[in-house]
Amino acid sequence: MSLTLEGVSKVVGGYTHIHPMDLTLSKGTMNVLLGPTLSGKTSLMRLMAGLDKPATGRIVWNGEDVTGVRVQDRGVAMVYQQFINYPTMSVYDNIASPMRLLGKSKTEIDRGVREAADLMKLTPMLERKPLELSGGQQQRCALARALVKDAGLVLLDEPLANLDYKLREELRVEIPRIFEASGAIFVYATTEPEEALLLGGNTAALWEGRVTQFGPTADVYRQPVDATTARVFSDPPMNFLKITKSGNRLVFGDNQSAEAKGTLAGLADGRYTAGFRPNHVEIEPHAAEAMEFHTSLSVFEITGSETFVHLDHHGDRWVGLVHGVRDLRIGAAVTVFLDPAHVYVFGEDGALIAPASYALAA
């Protein structure tokens, strides 16, 4: 079982929502569409579902061209950000409804409802109406309806966005497990990098209607192919620094410089953008090769076990996430350290020139 997009694009009123793209999703996989609002996640899902027709290209399902086939005839299940259930029906009847539409027998329906309710922890609520349930239970009910459809393609469009933080955490762990067994292809849209990482599977990073990278989630996170992907897949945001490599020095800002160490020593002379994640900014250097940067502290935030430091580095805003609770002063000078193994080097066009060497080992 597979879903293939071949040169698929979408244009609305002369404005390109999705640039021509190729993408293949295979059986039994979780595929995350990660990108900010308006990056094309929902447009792409609607094309996959058959709710919209592509401007160009073909959509192939198990080797068969389904480009013109209506959503009703495609065996697709969709779950949206808003919990969509029938308010006048009981939870039981809500879960049963897709199976009734498929003309299944009473016994089959009953078995299906009870299995899905059990997985979604809704068994005690089967006789209640959706509006008598909490938000998390309502969304579980919507998920159960998607599950019993036995669809080959399940599309989840930010299904947890309207839920409380802790419920999201719980369902994020449950969803991949629940759907793992079904063997369907899952597509899950989210704006949050952390959610993509927790879901695992594959991730497609989306930016302005283009898939900038598609691959195993941890690989896309650690080995982004360009600065855009790195930016999309980093929360808190990745830090960037424009550098000029000259001999054994990295020159930046107003004639500041640092010795080019580690993999950075091997770069050809020229102009680059260095990128590094907040959790790799250090206040005490752990590596002998660490590079030193002088910044001033704009704001700091304590999470309980860690401290976010917001730094001003010659006009660039950086964020660092450091261990422990720090007693700091706004406006103070802060020297931070960076292990060259944690630095990505991008060309002036944003393409990756050298990966962070730690990521190759991880």
């Binding site: 409380d164 933080y165 929360d235 704001v299 935030e301 309980g304 609770v325």
Partner: protein, 364 residues
């Protein structure tokens, strides 16, 4: 700015409440200091919005009083309380320019044109919208409109308090970082008394000096982010703060030793005799996976979440989560866990038990 006193404050939406379960907000006695930032944190239905509505004057409490400094404001309207509010969704006048939107609260209070111009310029800089001051709000993105709402909330210096109700919900993750940072520096600069309602722990912890954790109409702890992390007063706080939350493990406690699944472990501190349901709480960050020592676990799954790994395991039949640093390898022989005694707390019937003495720990 004002100090806020909650004096025997409680609220029931029922005309004749019988027991504690009939209260949306159970009795509160607290004094919140002038110029400090407080976050009200809890799941939906915990009573945080009820409490905010009482402070803002949208709701009159069924019991108790609320004071701003020494003045009783319990029966005053929102307007009389002289507060500023920012809501979950942007509230801006589409037909007005960004400048007029920001100036609105000041002009309403009859401030001079000079004061208005000076304040608006300052706030526009803070929210990074100086370039857009002359344009109409219509057609701006939701992010930009919410920035205007935030700016308008903070434009007046003479308010008693600034109240925020989930103000960053509609904002993209990247923009959240920016806006939160701006809020934080505004607080640093102007020292407003701020109250911020959210269900998002990161927002609450990073924004506030003091976090008020609520569940089922009750305040279970008011503490600094560090206190909530290291010494959760209730198992709910341990669960709700932290991702994943604190591990809560049934145990026997004898002095400074605990027994879990027949195995002995040091607690770091000694405890008196306990009754009721006894458990130990230890956050995933204080659990270390090892090969040589400690309690045996069965590893179920390892989740790579980027900057660290979450190991999902089982300890004598109970789920336990362990956080392992990004670059620490996990090998097949690592089937035991050790708890950092500094991170171990003891609970009886869900409430944290104070140890007898804090310096017995070295026995471990």
């Amino acid at each position: 700015m004002a100090r806020i006193t909650l004096d025997a404050l409680a609220h029931s939406y029922m005309p004749d409440p019988k027991g504690p379960e009939d209260y949306a907000l159970k009795e509160l006695n607290h004094v919140w200091s002038d110029g400090e930032a407080y976050a009200l944190l809890g799941p939906s239905g915990c009573g945080k919005s009820t409490l905010l509505n009482i402070i803002s004057g949208l709701l009159e409490p069924s019991e108790g009083r609320i004071l701003f400094d020494d003045g009783d404001v319990t029966h005053m309207t929102t307007a009389e309380r002289n507060i500023a509010q920012v809501f979950q969704f942007p509230v801006v006048y589409d037909t007005m320019t960004v400048r007029d939107n920001l100036a609105f609260p000041l002009r309403n209070r009859g401030h001079s044109a000079d004061v208005v111009a000076e304040r608006v310029a300052r706030i526009a800089k803070m929210i990074g919208m100086e370039a857009e001051l002359g344009r109409k709000a219509r057609g701006l993105t939701a992010d930009a409109k919410q920035k205007i709402s935030l700016g308008r909330g903070m434009v007046r210096e003479d308010v008693n308090a600034l109240l925020f109700d989930e103000p960053l919900t509609v904002i993209d993750p990247h923009m959240k970082w920016e806006l939160r940072t701006q809020l934080k520096s505004l607080h640093h600069e102007f020292g407003h008394t701020m109250i911020y309602v959210t269900h998002d722990q990161t927002e609450a912890l990073t924004f506030a000096d003091h976090v008020v954790v609520m569940t089922e109409g009750q305040v279970v702890q008011i503490g600094t982010p560090q206190e909530l992390f290291e010494r959760p007063a209730h198992t709910f706080v341990g669960f709700f703060i932290g991702s994943p939350g604190m591990n809560v493990i049934p145990a026997e406690v004898r002095g400074d030793r605990g027994v879990v699944g027949g195995q002995d472990l040091p607690l770091g501190r000694a405890y008196g005799p306990l009754s009721g349901k006894v458990e130990i709480g230890v956050r995933p960050e204080f659990v270390r996976l090892t090969a040589e020592e400690g309690l045996p676990v069965t590893i179920r799954r390892v989740e790579d979440v980027g900057r660290h790994k979450i190991v999902r395991a089982e300890l004598s039949g109970k789920d336990i989560n362990i956080v392992v640093a990004e670059e620490t390898p996990i090998t097949a022989d690592m089937t035991r866990v050790v708890f950092d005694p500094e991170g171990v707390n003891v609970y009886a019937d869900d409430w944290r038990v104070e140890p007898l003495s804090t310096n017995v720990g070295e026995a471990a």
